[in-house]
Structure formats: structure tokens, C-alpha cells
Amino acid sequence: MALIRTFHEHHDNSDCCQLSSGRARPVGGPAARDCGGPTVTGERLLVPVSESSTLRNTVAYAVRNAVEGENRYDAVHFVSPASRRIAGEEYVESARELLDRVEVWAGEDLGEDDPDLTVETALIGVDAYLFSPGDYVELLAGYAEDNGIGSVLLDPEFNPGQNTPLLPPLEAELDGAGFSVETAPVERGTRRERLVRRASLGQFVLLAGLSYGFYLLIGGSLAAFDLVTGAISAGIVATVLWRISLTGPVRPGRLLARIARMLVYTPYLLYEIVVANLAIAYVVLHPSLPIDPEVVEFDAAVWSELPVTTLANSITLTPGTLTVDVTRQHFVVHTLTEGARDDLLDGGLERAVRFVFYGRAAARGPGPRERGDDGGEDS
């Protein structure tokens, strides 16, 4: 089904329509047909790819969109611009491997139920000079022209040169060149989230106080020297980190209530850890190693960052369950045994975390299973 083609010198479009004109046409425009290119039977999608953290999701989105989106596509072309002259042979080689990977991913995403979609991958611009966004636009436009493609899907982290951010100018130029351009709505890695946030004086005071207390505790003395150096250290720490460490406004009453409930939660967690540890020790030492690992997914009824982090860490701490990935409140958990799976989906830990952060009433809510989430992987 999938076909790998390698193209060189896509700058040479003399046998086809002029690059600078006549490309303002609807999706899947007929230009290629007009100038004797391959016959266009349906709409095709061009996806430029490069090594990026969002590439996997972009591929998934492209395939899903092509199969069941508003605009269906007959073919998806994944192309990787890689210039040997600019980036070197190694980069071209890695781009080739990347395309192999993309092809495998697309195959995975297609599954076996849709043979109608053609997936093609191509390495382009190997012998071209690729410097500016304009060069890339020209190259991509040339490829699109030759293959009768009118729509472009961009990976939000697409950056073939791996140097300057290319996407905004590329998006604008492609749009200006008459393509229908979309940026894949995929989740970006956390590193793109804003680290520095607005903060209030309360956060500064809280952080400085915590640092000061910790300093004195570790130092173990209240001598004048320690009091002074501690104050200086706490001041520096709080000045540098007060807008990063703490999120949200400080409400002393709620904070104290949470700390108190955390103190109730800790023995419960410890108890769970001990019980589960014994169960795992039994499994590990059992001669026939009776494990039945399975990945389960569920949406936890906890919100915001700190509760989700607490729940994720508690799940990992409890033997037999290991948090693999968390997106907002969607948990992907690797479970080692049937028993661990049952405990997880019964939601004991989740209720406990809700109790810590939202109070007693919230703890009485249903667990994942009672919410109709059976932990299936199809969610």
C-alpha cells in the first residue's frame, strides 16, 4: 500500500506550471492535470515532517483526518525536506529513517479496515539549497504541484533545519502560495508551557517561609549565623523561583486544611504500600511468576496539576501499578496483576486524593469503574 519515493531537485518545475502563479485554487486543485502531471482523482494531503516531539501525534491526526475528517483525502504524502548540501549526509540519512518510522506509524494508525487511503513518503530537496522559509515553500510547493496536492498539514513543531523557528513564516508563505494550510491540533510537549506565571506576594512569602524553615531544620541550630544565612538563602530562592514553584493564589485556610488531610492520607498511603508490597513480593518470589500485565486507561475525577500529580505518584508508589502517561486527567497505567488492576479501578487511591484536595464530600464520589470506565484501551 505504502510507497516510498525519493525525489531530487524539485526546484526544477520548468515542465510544469509556474510556481508564482495559478496556485490560488481550491483543495486538490487541478493544476497538475492541466499541465500533464499525474491524473488527480481525489484530494491529497501534504504533511512535511521532521524530527519533533509532536510528530507521532501529527501523523495520527493526519491519518485520522484523512479517513474520517470533514475533508476526506485519498492520499497522504509525508515528505521530509533534507538538504545534503546544507545539513550534511547524516541528516539526510536520519530523515530517511524518520520517513520509515512515519510509514510504520501511519500503517499502525490505518489498521486493517481502510485500504482506501494511500500513504506515500518522500525525501525531498536532497540536492537543493534550503535556507529560508521561502526555499522550503518553493520546495514543498513544487512537490505539491507535481503530485496534485492542494492541502498542507503542518506539525506544530515542524523544524527541518533544527535551528530557527520556521513554522510561522512557513505557514504564512504556504497560505500566500494558495494552499489550504492547517496546523495539526496536537498536544505539545510540556516544555512549551509557560514556566513563569503571574504570582502574588502570598506565594513569595509562602515559598520564602518554607525555604527558611527547611534551611533551619536541616541546619539544626538557631544561632544568629544560621538565622542570617538562612534568611539570605530563603530570600534568594524565593526571589528566583516564586513565580515558578507555586501556582494559583495562596489561601492559608485551605492550605492548612489540605495539609491536615494530607496527614490523614499519608498513613493510608503507607498502609496501601505495605499491603501491595507484600502482594508483589509474593508474585516475584512465586516459582511460576504469576503476573498478568496489562495497560489500562481511565479518566480520573481529579482536576488541576497538583492533585493529578499526587494521584499519579501515589499510583506509581503502590506496587503493581505504574503510571505510564498522564494527559490532563487521562491516566495510562501499567498494571502487573489482576488484583492490582481491580484495586486501581475501584478507585480507593483516587477517592483518597479527592479527600485531600477537595474535602470529605468529594471523597464519596464513584471510582473509575462505577463511572463506567472499565479501563479498556479503546477510550
Binding site: A276, I280, D292, L322, H334
Partner: protein, 107 residues
């Protein structure tokens, strides 16, 4: 003669060593990365926890014990974070978890 105090320390240490060994055995016996992460990170929490508890008992009440408890707190924060980082990296790389269908007992 072993006093009650020493017996408590010894029992805690023995428990810590036991779970440490379980972690090592699990690491060797488990079939794939995820299950090994279970063994290595989990039994370790109790293994190191009991060992630290033994240390706390030896120190008696006072500042060193507080520090021991702090150590435990940090272990309980960093340990699952590391396990999560490793398994998430593995999942991002597309490593499929081992299941019982993947084959029999590899001893």
C-alpha cells in the same frame, strides 16, 4: 543478649533487606521494561523505607530522626517520578508491554 530496642532495629533492617532482595530478584525475573520498573521501584520503597525506619529508631527522638523522615518523604516523591519518567520514555519510544500472550514462562 538482645534488648527489645535492638530487636526492633534488627527486625526493621531485616525487612528492609528482604524487600531490597525482592526488588533485585524481580528485576532479574520480570520479562520486560515495565514489569521490571514495577519490581525495581516498588519493593524499593518499602525496602529503603524500613531501612530508614531502622536508622530512625537508632537515632532516637531528635533532629536526625526528623531528617530521616524527610529523606523518606523525598524518596517517596522522587522514586515514582523516576519510574514514571522511565516508563513514559519507553512508551513514547513505542515499546509494547509484555502480556501473557507473548509467551510462556521465561524462568
Amino acid at each position: 543478649m538482645v534488648s527489645l530496642y535492638e530487636a526492633a532495629v534488627l527486625a526493621l533492617l531485616a525487612g528492609g533487606v528482604f524487600f531490597g532482595i525482592v526488588a533485585a530478584v524481580g528485576l532479574l525475573r520480570m520479562p520486560d521494561l515495565y514489569t521490571r520498573a514495577h519490581a525495581a521501584s516498588k519493593a524499593d520503597t518499602l525496602g529503603s523505607g524500613l531501612s530508614l525506619a531502622a536508622a530512625a529508631v537508632v537515632f532516637g527522638s531528635g533532629l536526625p530522626t526528623v531528617k530521616t523522615v524527610l529523606l523518606l518523604v523525598f524518596l517517596f516523591i522522587t522514586n515514582p517520578t523516576a519510574a514514571h519518567a522511565i516508563s513514559r520514555a519507553a512508551a513514547d519510544q513505542g515499546i509494547e508491554p509484555w502480556t501473557t500472550e507473548d509467551g510462556g514462562d521465561d524462568g
